[in-house]
């Protein structure tokens, strides 16, 4: 089975093998402060930090690019939107596209947005590219005290996802066999049939999990121990410190533009 969310990193890399909850926490601690400012310098610095640290996660730049391609698509969308709809058209004219003046102001605003998009999303991409879903669910239950009903239940549902692709293809072919041409008009009916099938499978899986004592009220034990050690705390502290550092540099250069006020 090949599924997009499977880890692609070297699992022994120094930061890849940190506790999944610590990685997730570090990603949040690092990217959330970036939301506070609208200038392009902070996300640029953050992006630099992320790319410099990438080898410590055992991830190749090419592998990251393959994972992050939806972000490239999104940044293209940002650029188009800004060119079409930006209200602030100050700065020098770069090119005039009919009625639209593309100015340096428009382009730098677009650049700022694209940088923010990457800087905020990449930590999450890195975490999921370096974390096995089973380990994440285990760590969420053991270290973050998430309910097993939620974490393990989501993990089990996640296992059924790849089946949906094959199911969709079969439904489409079966509709052609019935004399219905493929096309947009078939989409809602096919999607409905897919949903019915998915609900039935989900129901059967839930019964099978019940039968093996899932969520029966007994305290669970853990076959795979997830440890949260000092290095994991350090990773989270380090992430917060780096985010603070990026903001500090921006404030010192006078470019800081708080989102509020």
């Amino acid at each position: 089975m090949s599924f997009a969310a499977h880890p692609v990193a070297d699992p022994a890399a120094p930061l890849a093998r940190r506790n999944p909850v610590a990685k997730l926490g570090a990603a949040l601690l690092f990217s959330l402060p970036l939301v506070a400012t609208l200038d392009p310098l902070t996300p640029a610095l953050a992006l630099l930090v992320e790319l410099v640290l990438l080898p410590l996660f055992g991830l190749h730049y090419a592998a990251l690019a393959r994972r992050a391609w939806p972000l490239l698509l999104a940044s293209g969308g940002v650029l188009v939107t800004m060119v079409l709809f930006a209200t602030d058209r100050s700065g020098n004219l770069v090119v005039a596209l009919g009625p639209l003046d593309v100015t340096t102001g428009v382009l730098s605003a677009a650049l700022g947005l694209v940088l923010r998009l990457f800087a905020i999303a990449l930590p999450g991409v890195i975490v999921f590219a370096t974390t096995d879903p089973t380990d994440l669910a285990d760590a969420l239950v053991q270290n973050a005290k998430a309910p097993a009903r939620f974490a393990i239940g989501a993990l089990a549902a996640f296992r059924l996802l790849p089946l949906l692709g094959a199911e969709w293809q079969m439904l489409t072919l079966a509709r052609r066999a019935r004399g219905l041409n493929a096309g947009l008009r078939q989409f809602p009916a096919t999607a409905f049939a897919l949903l019915v099938g998915a609900l039935r499978r989900g129901g059967r899986l839930a019964v099978a999990m019940d039968a093996r004592g899932f969520d029966s009220g007994l305290p669970r034990t853990y076959a795979r121990k997830q440890n949260f050690v000092r290095a994991d705390t350090l990773l989270m502290v380090g992430a917060a410190a780096l985010a603070a550092g990026c903001l500090a540099v921006t404030v010192l250069t006078g470019l800081f533009r708080p989102i509020i006020g």
Binding site: R159, L163, R176, A177, M209
Partner: protein, 470 residues
């Protein structure tokens, strides 16, 4: 080991008027191995679910009492929806974690359970890479690891090909070998199940128990009646239905058609008035070949010519296709596109622009021929397995195609539906239709096929090393 006592037991699902099962008095002693039989709809699965403790009080109404003095474990039909975790070992550990087994005991019990079912791979083997039979073995290991006193098996091999089914039966036999676990098995393929049991209990559809005793005694007294009701009782043979006439005009020829990574090049011809059975192991590309012949999938190499049309079938318009080739999928529910059985049959003729009067004639004729008249207003998704199978064939017949392509038409069917299917396909063939059936049902091939097309060996090599031979 545990014993089971049922006294006047009954269960009615919430919102239903009829009891799914009722008036059951039954005692099963420690270590007994029981085969639970009954025509479909007799309530076998409901009874097992009750014994497994899977009927919560708010989901229906119970009568009488159930007493089990030990923890039950249950294995269901569908291997896909019983595995929870991504790695095989983790999946066996899942139940142990839920029961609060101390961490230090979990892994020894996991490897013990895997040994008992003869699981041949390391514990890190991805569950997604297992075949149906292997997945079902793993599901059995997951239940055995919990050391159930009562093992409940609800048609554990019904979704598997013959090799996979043999693998699972072997695993059941060897896992029971060293223990005195009580077993209750629901299985309508009696011959295969008999080596595993020493007692047969037959449920009466209206309520109560019809027969109970040693297998030879029960089958001597009730064998013919059970066979009529659809149970695969051993020793009741079905006369073959081979074609009395030589095949007619060739309808379709395939020249070295292949689909990358799914089917090696094959060449074949299909003629009117013959039943061609395509056989072969899992992974040989049987279903892919059915999709190619059905004009549903483009080949990546080779060419298919049919009905003297210069274009290959996969390029035909969908309405042209249904008028010439009818495809019946393995899972009938994939094919349903409306909310009523009668509407389902009208879809094809309507696409061909038939008049309302013509459509009514076709629909009524098919409802009658396939004994679906009573269900004309029912939702196709609510039909039983046999009814859904009959409807899926009927939908393909509604546009009167000369060529029928069926994927596993008799798969998992009870004896009654099986005979109906064979009779219907034989009649269609004798009327001059060409029938291609992808199947691993040897009885079906023996009874009906005029010609067998064996597909080659497994295409996908096993990517992971085996732990040790089982």
């Amino acid at each position: 080991m545990s014993s089971v006592v049922l006294r006047g037991f009954g269960w009615r699902h919430a919102g239903r008027r009829a009891w799914a099962v009722r008036d059951v008095d039954l005692e099963i002693a420690h270590g007994e191995r029981v085969l639970l039989l009954g025509p479909s709809g007799a309530g076998k699965s409901t009874l097992l679910a009750a014994l497994a403790g899977l009927l919560p009080g708010d989901s229906g109404e119970q009568a009488g009492l159930v007493k089990i003095d030990g923890p039950p474990g249950i294995v269901f039909q569908d291997p896909q929806t019983q595995l929870v975790m991504a790695r095989s070992g983790d999946d066996v550990a899942f139940g142990l974690e839920n029961r609060g087994v101390p961490a230090g005991q979990i892994w020894p019990r996991v490897s013990d359970a895997l040994d008992r079912v003869g699981f041949p791979y390391p514990i890190t083997r991805p569950t997604a890479a297992l075949s149906g039979g292997e997945a079902q073995r793993l599901a059995l290991a997951g239940v055995l690891a919990l050391r159930p006193g009562l093992l409940l098996l609800d048609e554990p091999t019904a979704n598997l090909d013959p090799d996979g089914a043999a693998l699972v039966r072997d695993a059941i036999a060897r896992s029971l070998d060293r223990t005195d676990t009580t077993l209750i098995l629901v299985e309508h393929r009696v011959a295969e199940a008999l080596p595993l049991v020493d007692r047969v209990v037959v449920l009466e559809p209206g309520g109560g128990i019809r027969a109970d005793g040693a297998p030879e005694v029960v089958f001597a007294a009730y064998g013919d009646r059970l066979a009529d009701e659809g149970v695969w009782v051993p020793g009741f043979h079905i006369p073959p239905r081979k074609s009395p006439n030589p095949p007619g005009e060739t309808l379709l020829t395939a020249e070295r058609v292949a689909v990358e990574r799914r089917l090696d090049p094959v060449s074949m011809a299909v003629a009117e008035g013959e039943v061609l059975a395509v056989t072969g192991p899992n992974g040989a590309g049987k279903s892919t070949l059915a999709l190619l012949l059905g004009g549903l999938l483009p080949p990546t190499a080779g060419r298919i010519d049919a009905f003297a049309d210069p274009r290959p079938p996969h390029k035909w318009r969908a309405s042209t296709l249904t008028a010439r080739i009818g495809s019946v999928f393995q899972n009938p529910e994939h094919q349903f596109v409306t909310a009523r059985v009668a509407d389902e049959l009208a879809v094809g003729p309507r696409r061909l622009g038939r008049t309302p009067a013509e459509i009514t004639t076709v629909v009524d004729g098919l409802l009658d021929r396939l004994r679906l008249t009573r269900l004309a207003g029912a939702n196709p998704y609510t039909l039983s397995g046999g009814e859904a199978r009959r409807l899926s064939v009927a939908t393909a017949l509604a546009t009167a195609p000369r060529l029928l392509v069926l994927d596993e038409p008799t798969f998992g069917q009870d004896r009654r539906t099986w005979i109906e299917m064979v009779t219907l396909l034989a009649t269609l063939r004798d009327e001059g239709h060409a029938v291609v059936a992808v199947t691993h049902d040897d009885d079906f091939v023996q009874a009906l096929a005029d010609r067998v097309f064996p597909l080659g060996s497994l295409r996908r090599p096993d990517p992971l090393p085996r732990r040790r031979p089982s």
